[in-house]
Symmetry: C2
Subunit: 338 residues, 2 copies
Amino acid sequence: MTLINHKFTLAARPAGMPKRTDWTYGEEPVRELADGEVLIKVLYISLDPAMRGWMNDSKSYISPVAIGEVMRALGAGQVIASRNSRFPVGQFISGGCGVQEYFISQGDGLIALDTRIAPLPVFLSTLGMTGMTAYFGLLDTGRPEPGDVVVVSAAAGAVGGVVGQIAKIKGCRAVGIAGGDAKCRYLREELGFDVAIDYKSEDVARALRTACPSGINVYFDNVGGEILEAALANLARGARIVICGAISQYNNQIMQGPRNYMSLLINRASMKGMLVFDYVDRFGEAVREMAGWIKVGKLKSREDIVEGLETFPETFLKLFSGENVGKLLLKVAEPESN
Amino acid sequence: MTLINHKFTLAARPAGMPKRTDWTYGEEPVRELADGEVLIKVLYISLDPAMRGWMNDSKSYISPVAIGEVMRALGAGQVIASRNSRFPVGQFISGGCGVQEYFISQGDGLIALDTRIAPLPVFLSTLGMTGMTAYFGLLDTGRPEPGDVVVVSAAAGAVGGVVGQIAKIKGCRAVGIAGGDAKCRYLREELGFDVAIDYKSEDVARALRTACPSGINVYFDNVGGEILEAALANLARGARIVICGAISQYNNQIMQGPRNYMSLLINRASMKGMLVFDYVDRFGEAVREMAGWIKVGKLKSREDIVEGLETFPETFLKLFSGENVGKLLLKVAEPESN
């Protein structure tokens, strides 16, 4: 029986918000494995704001996706055929699978997953790149001290929710910025944030001034734009700003820079970029610590799972409309039963 | 004989570029000294871009100059009457003198100067706040390593020229950005910069790409605006940006933020503000080291001295038109001869 792989390839480089026609949905038969290769059935695909940047033809930390190439994405799957002794049939893995149903790998970059530790989606969420970004971005770049005020934007998103929870675990005051009352309630009631600011109904700069009367010690930025400016306007002396993302700007033709960046001088503060890929060697320690926190109920992992590979374009756009809560995943298939 | 003090007081808060009528030039008799006070005859006044910020009624690292108050400025002078044993008559000092001919102090914040080490103007320049800003901004915030590429803007200015020379002393490659051919020749031929880029005739981003093929390791920013963006576009991995000033923006009603600040993420780079006042405890060590460099000819100090207190408004504006080379000082009077 020949397997058929359905996939999304990049058709055009979007100007502004992507649309379905920026990808081509196509199919092809899955080829035979060569020696050393494994065939993986994709079960979940991770949808991340960074994917928008990979669609642009500009210099970045990674080469752009080429036109005609499978859309780049991380995901989790199961080995269903193997000519590589490191990855036997039945093994669950995560890796750069692309937006498709099957992919063939020589094993490089694949991570074997132990589903006794956590369900598969959690390995793409709190125990995956998302959680690693929060963990190393906050602890290594933000360097919070107990008692510090930690503010995070897109706080109901995949990274932000973990940042706030780790801040609480580390004895900080956690202030989250999110859009809408439901998300703000989720932050306070489910994730234990001390304060949640609704940017859709509040003046964020003023709300931060009220919530952080002695200023922000660590600001973890996922959004850029006016919310970054509101945070800059409320820094404490020696504050650290972690630049993790700028989702409000990714679909703009011309990005807006923070007009009040001289607050860095006034407050002897710093703004530093972080990329999770730099911490690959330390993922093991982080996963062990985070899994421990999950086990004792200190850290909650939430996934927003949408079914069906073919919904990819519309599901991906939920990231930019602010519709999702927690980690947005595409469920592609069920694991093999035997 | 009653002394008459001439002084500039702040008359209005300028919108945009200041003009003469934003100050009032007035006079008043010098009052009698109380116990513990000294009377200082101002000899030189330091003209600094930061003074523009002090004219604005906005939250900063220091309170604004009040309307009617003497315009704040650093300067050097001589004690001509004293009821304070720490500062005898004849002693040269530096301190916050204001834009005036005489001032009375209780001695707090005054620094006694030894004119056998260097001429008085040098104590307001390379051995003063200006030199301290360059020294601690570069070495403490920029943390250059031998072989690093250090880029500085406003390189023919007071701070920039010292930054480039210290970079060379520390074994770095020094690239200066300045306006006009004369300044660029001065950087290369007098101060020993490896490369000088003329922002008035060159595309700075392109010139930086050529001058720094493996990227900028340390960028010391005095100007902000498009030159900051050009530097951001050419960072090496792990680059440090020192935010010292933003002279291109000080007279703008709305500042422009660096639109490509996400280069901090792409390059895992940082942008950090510095204020020289935080290093007061370490000025002694820096002055000793800098004086040693001056003595052996490794570090040149250049002052651009304009005579006459009454020229203050026009002389101050030379900072913003880019007319001065080196440290801009106003000479107010000669020292007492006996």
